[in-house]
Symmetry: C2
Subunit: 144 residues, 2 copies
DNA sequence: TGTAAGGCTTCCCATCATGGGAAGGTCAAG
DNA sequence: CTTGACCTTCCCATGATGGGAAGCCTTACA
């Protein structure tokens, strides 16, 4: 299988397959005489594993760890679960951060006329003219 | 005011102040004879505006637009509100995406013993051995 | 007044994951 | 044998930020 076919079979772009090889995440089964990368079912399976891990938001570093655990038959499920749990916490933290932004922005938008006049609570807030007291009850601590 | 003082007064790192200048977002009031950047209250105000916009998740490009609107006294609040609304939608889309990941991961984690044994539904899912049917009712469409 | 510390300058590099594109070799079909 | 589609490597770009080096400037202190 050429890289193009492996790409089609795995959903990972050829560009990314080469990149994953470069960073040591994967390797082709071999090369043809003309230096073309050759892949088999095994390699495509690994690529699909990576794609799925990425789609769940794992970084390539985490994905690499998961990949090693997958291939290590003596792993413990606890070691995998720990990575997943850490990742869940990370996602939830980022979600909460963005939800805070949304909450503030919705409040400001609600207060903004959205008409032809220049008066705008959104700009007032950005400029530091406190027009949205409900979000920042204490000091000027950033949301992010 | 030197860049260091402007940084302290605005909460934007000196590194970032220089970068914002480089991309044309801001400019110092001037330079000293020895080529030091000089800032005034006005510039610090702009830096704080940028910082607040960033903390609400606006990109630098959006921030630039907001900054121009802020300085344009003939703007309409509708134009500002539109940017905010677009940004809210973007944030909500990303939040939903991550919530999907969390949902799947929590389900998998819940199914995972987290013990010393190697059996792990999380890895099984990544490997494509469908152990978590509740998330992917139809085809193999990625979450992301 | 000399010197040392610390601040400023520019320039280059790294991150993270991905894509674009150029220059050139290879393969398969016509 | 040519043409087009594929492959190779290499370089560059993204977005926002930080690190660090080399060298100049300023301030404070002895």
């Amino acid at each position: 299988m050429n890289i193009g076919e492996a790409s089609g079979a795995s959903g990972v772009s050829a560009k990314m397959i080469r990149y994953y090889e470069q960073i040591g995440l994967i390797a082709p089964k071999g090369r043809t005489q003309s230096n073309y990368r050759v892949y088999g079912e095994q390699e495509v399976h690994v690529l699909r594993f990576i794609k799925r891990a990425r789609s769940l938001g794992f970084s390539l570093e985490e994905t690499e760890t998961l990949l090693k655990l997958w291939q290590d038959k003596s792993r413990t499920s606890a070691s995998v679960k720990e990575i997943a749990t850490t990742h869940i916490n990370d996602l939830e933290r980022r979600i909460a951060e963005m939800q805070g932004m949304v909450k503030t922005l919705k409040h400001l938008s609600h207060c903004c006329g959205g008409d032809h006049r220049p008066d705008c609570p959104i700009l007032d807030d950005l400029a530091g003219e406190r027009a949205a007291p409900s979000d920042k009850p204490k000091s000027g601590e950033s949301v992010a």
